[in-house]
Symmetry: C2
Subunit: 392 residues, 2 copies
């Protein structure tokens, strides 16, 4: 048969990048391409005892159908952690999702009709762009500097486009740039969102991974008008394989997410939620995050040092205060997409920056991940990349 | 703020039924409402050893980001089981999903635009109706008897409606009616799907739970033209809490499901997939299903006997040859939706049949689940329901 797909499915295509990056699972490639956390800190041994305990003490509940909202004790612990971070969150306002990617997908589904506009940072997270595109959303990029979206440009775009339905932001250690918004910019975003009655989707996968400087209040923490939908995840602070994320939003908005979750997959893995809940009971999660922070800070420093040592002098980069990524702009004579092919031949991979601009246009960017490789591989990979760039 | 939702999100509302059924989690209620498998057969003890083994032998892979398609050894074992059931399936044509509900959601996303039509049995599965509605699909019910959709009516509707995009069927022990399609009807469905170039979504959660009679080939097994997308799940044969389902389809179609999965939640829980894979290695899965079959057959018989014993003589029902549900039509003077309120006051719950007709119209149906309650509760609940009906 010749299958007839929906208009939205016709728009969903595999990115060329994804095909290239499939090569990077080869063990001889040093990959700075993914966003993988370091397995060194995965709670493997702790989970051995915990999974047995879950099965022993609540085996039936962990294996039976569960409420769509998720496991209440876990939602209560997440609410408490959010409160400690200055956010006014209650368990009733939290829905467990399959990673925060599912929260992004639901946001697209709940807020955008085909042709509607999402305002986003320039550049922005590829996975969010793809999730929203699947619902026919279009993207208008807001001018963004090292402090976040520029309010004047944000307002100009809110004025210009009447079909804006969401403002999507990653204010802490942004993906791909590693940049962090100033408090002033966060407040300016909220005041414009209020003025134009737009929902803000705040994606915060990396906020707890800060390597220096002081933590800033999330946009959700500063919001007094129920403007913000907050997306959280344990993929970077616990592990991604169990797919545990959450959405926190006002009653009216969260109710839509719950109904959408019910139609999408009924509920998230019930055993994994209980395992995480017991982990939070039995272990010091802040100490666990401290270990991650120490490891990733060290790896970031190795990568930044290698930039200075091996790369041409005309590159531009921002040293990120947290998160997993370093963003680099090389000479504007270089298009990093064909350059990736050269790099892979030399056994190194990264993600070309162009992929992160929903409307294209910037060809000399590179996103480098520093969390997943050990010192030696970071050094070796960066030396190869630097030499290649110098030879161009 | 006053949130502005997408048109599709405006259409998603909590069903009244769901609100009523929330009451049924009260422990003093005998609930025939859900579709819960019996926890008596959950593999709790086996999973204690298996989860430790997964963490010991492949802890990093189980907790790290995984390929969207799912864990290859599990997909290979599923392909083998499908082959044993007469289906021409390869691991490459299988995508792991978060329960088969996610396969339904993706089917709506991939094949329907707002206003497109899904042809379905009358009545049909509520969760599928809700999943497809979220994409703006409309439903045309095809006349259905004890052997499945009536081909003449199916063809009439394929002729009449030019926006038909999917034919959604549950040929084995259908939800809610418990009916099973004859082989002739399966073949007629395929020949019409071919003639009109329509995709068939075959939802088969109960096929392996047959209590008498001979297994029939799935529609997928009979298909020679890549017309069928097959949705499978381990929710009824293993356990639902781990959320393990799959989609099997031709390369071209499966590729869309993979891309949609990537945007929806990247991949399914990686640890759960490995646990199930080891369970299939270490234990005799067919023997496990045999135990389920014995238990459910017994419970079905208790329920059917109770119908004869306690219910008015003017009821109509089909004794299901498998699955989890018994479908009942009471006197057409009775509307089972208000009757549910009376039943709950007496401590018994069921799902009123009307919910399963996407366009409404049949008010005297009831769906009763027999898998989740023990003999005593089935007997007691049926006695109460019967007495109430006789008093009306």
């Amino acid at each position: 048969m010749k299958p007839v797909f929906s208009n939205r499915a016709k728009n969903i295509r595999a990115s060329e990048i994804r095909e290239i990056l499939k090569l990077t699972s080869r063990s001889d490639i040093i990959s700075f391409a993914g966003g993988l956390p370091a397995p060194d800190c995965f709670p493997i041994d702790q989970l051995k005892g915990i999974s047995k305990e879950v099965l022993q003490d609540m085996g039936v509940e962990a294996l039976q159908y569960n409420a769509t909202e998720g496991y209440l004790p876990l939602r209560e612990k997440i609410a408490k952690r959010m409160q400690k971070q200055g956010m006014d969150a209650k368990a009733d306002n939290i829905l467990m999702t399959s990673g925060s990617q599912q929260g992004l997908d639901f946001s697209g589904k709940i807020f955008t009709d085909p042709g509607d506009i999402v305002l986003c940072e320039s550049p922005s997270y590829l996975g969010a762009i793809n999730a929203f595109k699947a619902y026919g959303a279009e993207f208008v990029e807001v001018d963004t500097d090292e402090n976040g979206m520029i309010p004047e440009d944000l307002e100009a775009k809110l004025e210009k486009y009447d079909r804006v339905r969401m403002i999507y932001v990653i204010p802490d250690f942004q993906n791909p740039t590693g940049r962090t918004w100033s408090v002033e910019r966060r407040k300016a975003l909220l005041s414009l969102a209020k003025k134009y009655n737009k929902v803000v989707i705040e994606d915060n996968p990396y906020g707890e991974l800060r390597y220096e400087g002081e933590s800033l209040p999330s946009v959700y923490a500063l919001d007094k008008d129920d403007l913000v939908v907050y997306l959280g995840t344990f993929s970077k602070t616990f592990c991604p394989g169990l797919r545990i994320g959450w959405v926190c939003a006002s009653d009216e908005i969260l109710n839509k997410y719950i109904l959408v979750k019910q139609g999408a997959d009924l509920h998230s893995n019930a055993m994994a939620q209980r395992e995480l809940s017991l982990f939070l009971d039995h272990y010091d999660f802040d100490a666990h995050i401290d270990r991650l922070v120490k490891l990733y800070r060290h790896r970031r420093d190795i990568m930044v040092d290698a930039l200075d040592k091996y790369f041409p002098k005309d590159i531009k980069y921002v040293k990120p205060e947290g998160g997993l990524f370093l963003w680099l702009e090389v000479s504007d004579k270089i298009d990093t997409k064909p350059f990736l092919q050269d790099a892979i031949k030399e056994g190194v991979a990264f993600v070309p920056g162009n992929s992160f601009f929903p409307n294209g246009g910037v060809d000399n960017g590179m996103r480098l991940n520093f969390s997943n490789m050990d010192d030696e591989n970071i050094e070796a990979g960066m030396a190869r990349l630097g030499a290649l760039l110098k030879n161009l």
